[in-house]
């Protein structure tokens, strides 16, 4: 079976996506969506990305809730900085964080979390030193950001992917 479906979860999600896009579960769309999702998973296999092992689905849900709350809070924080009367962004700066996570999939998810949260942007990760370079809009206390990223995101991501 694995030659036919190298990434079963990816294929399932793609099929679901196809059906949602077309708002239909007619047999025609089921067949077309299945063919497309299987061909797409072959294309993915040709890239040889390495299989992500998702260990703890509950931890993934927990992480999603934490990230949604943080995105909401940083929206308000960044909005306040922008409408602040004098010189917005005066505290912006770069900072580095040493990471313990090695999983490529975990790092990819972390980069999306950090970049899509207003106020922080993932600039670079050095795999040799496992150091992450960030740009933060409100860089007053570095330890707060280190605690947020290591304690709130990295710990859960390591539970999920490692």
């Amino acid at each position: 079976m694995s030659w036919l479906l190298p990434f079963p979860l990816l294929s399932a999600v793609l099929l679901l996506l196809w059906l949602l896009l077309n708002q239909s579960i007619s047999p025609g769309h089921l067949v077309l969506g299945s063919v497309l999702s299987i061909v797409a998973s072959w294309a993915m296999a040709a890239l040889r990305p390495g299989k992500p092992g998702i260990r703890r689905p509950m931890a993934a849900l927990h992480l999603m809730a934490v990230v949604l709350i943080d995105i909401f809070r940083s929206n308000i924080a960044v909005g306040r900085i922008i409408v602040h009367p004098q010189e917005p962004g005066a505290n912006a700066g770069f900072m580095t964080i040493p990471l313990d996570m090695r999983s490529r999939h975990g790092l990819a998810v972390l980069s999306i979390i950090i970049t899509s949260t207003p106020g922080t942007i993932w600039v670079n990760y050095d795999p040799a030193k496992s150091v992450l370079l960030l740009h933060v809009l409100d860089l007053v206390d570095k330890t707060v950001w280190i605690r947020t990223i290591k304690g709130r995101y990295e710990r859960l991501l390591m539970e999920i992917f490692e």
Binding site: N75, I82, G89, A128, L133
Partner: protein, 125 residues
């Protein structure tokens, strides 16, 4: 697009609130593009529009069409997933390009290449 009835008042009010809130948040993000000083600070501003702004407008849209057509409309969830997955890639590319140029130009405002970057250092002998 088929419609089965009038939009009730509660749905109209809630839709208006969500769309206006989303538009307001996106507007603040756009003002940030003008007000913030450096390129790296400016990159943070549009993320307001791609997170909370987008979420509010999409929730308003989903509510409006779900109530109007009397069936759950789910395209908005897909839009949210696609926007969330694609904007970080664009922002990352922009920031890295800017950092690369600043380092080549020998700017002292950005961290040097050995502070965690795999890109080549400026060639100065």
């Amino acid at each position: 697009m088929s419609t089965t009835g009038e939009l009730p008042v509660w749905a109209a009010l809630l839709t208006a609130f969500l769309v206006l809130t989303g538009a307001g948040v996106t507007l603040i993000g756009s003002i940030g593009l003008v007000r913030l000083g450096s390129f790296y600070a400016r990159v943070h501003a549009p993320t307001l529009g791609t997170t909370l702004g987008m979420a509010c407008i999409l929730m308003g849209s989903a509510l409006f069409f779900s109530v109007l057509e009397a069936r759950p409309v789910t395209h908005e969830i897909l839009i949210a997933i696609f926007v969330t997955l694609t904007t970080p890639v664009t922002l990352l590319l922009l920031v890295r390009a800017a950092l690369y140029r600043d380092r080549i130009a020998g700017s002292t405002d950005v961290p040097p290449a050995d502070a965690g970057d795999g890109s080549p250092p400026p060639e100065n002998g």
